[in-house]
Symmetry: C2
């Protein structure tokens, strides 16, 4: 079992114009990424937003599927959404992980735009397999704000497809990265 | 450039009880899978439903983003949704591909449940790289109905994560499979 944690960050992220914003929660981001996290044995999935109303909304969705009517109706969904931890900031998520793991996690940012210093998926896969606690951050909207990227310990290489098009949904990017880091099939370029 | 085509099938699929149904269209299935398809250089993305109203609905979404207000606002989304072909049946999609490619595509079903005879991602990757036209089918709801699976030429191996949990969203499964088949990093188990 890995000691990998995920965070889906709603602040600080950028909008289409590059302005720093707090983005709105998307129901399917919770479901899809929780299901992928459960598939690949992630320890917990932090949904990060500083907006009180949004945290209440997130908790309501999670409660519906973990202790409410959804839990009995679709037990598979319950198992996934039990991974969700609604959190006010990335720093809070880091503190929570530090308390659980007894060490500060390696904080890894993801970004679709090429960055100066990156770690590739193969190298990060080895770090995780070596037992290091890690927190992998994904940005909503147009991606993590520069402050979130420069504040991370590492930046993961962007996903390169077979085209010049790099506009994956965050749900798709998270699924691909988890498969590369924790799936049984990836061995790097 | 590969000759890979995708189909997202809304009929025949099964519901939670295993009954054959026509499922309802999901807006984000169109967007997320079109964006992943564009990222990995897929030729076209067939959205398959025999329900007239649902085809009209799908065409309206696609038109909004390809020729309507969305096209100018978010050109990246236009490029992805231009791949969508709304189609009444898998047979129609096969006929369309045959007309374009001059050969009947190899029809490959995907299924989260283990199947008797499967092709693994590495082998299918080699078939695609060899230039064979292929149609890869994903089922919505609880997956492709048995008739759709037995009618295919091949069944792709299920995605194994690091757990006994195999309930990925179809959007996540499609992203992972495209990365394994067309990404620059996959070399099999």
């Amino acid at each position: 079992m890995s000691r990998l944690y995920l965070a889906l960050v709603h602040y600080p992220v950028v909008n289409r114009k590059g302005e720093v914003i707090a983005s709105a929660l998307t129901n399917l981001d919770l479901h899809d990424i929780a299901r992928a996290a459960k598939t690949f044995g992630v320890q917990a999935y932090f949904v990060v937003t500083p907006v009180d109303d949004q945290r209440v909304f997130a908790e309501r969705i999670v409660a519906h599927w973990t202790t409410g009517p959804g839990a009995e109706l679709v037990p598979d969904r319950r198992r996934a959404l039990e991974l969700v931890r609604v959190t006010g900031s990335v720093a809070e998520a880091v503190d929570t992980i530090t308390a659980i793991e007894g060490e500060r996690p390696l904080v890894v940012a993801t970004c679709a735009r090429p960055q100066p210093a990156v770690i590739d998926c193969k190298a990060l896969r080895a770090v995780i397999a070596g037992g290091r606690a890690c927190l992998l951050m994904f940005g909503t909207a147009w991606g993590l704000a520069p402050a979130a990227i420069t504040g991370a310990d590492r930046v993961l290489e962007p996903i390169a497809g077979d085209s010049d098009y790099n506009h994956l949904a965050v749900r798709s990017a998270a699924a691909i990265v988890l498969d590369r880091l924790l799936g049984d099939n990836y061995s790097g370029r």
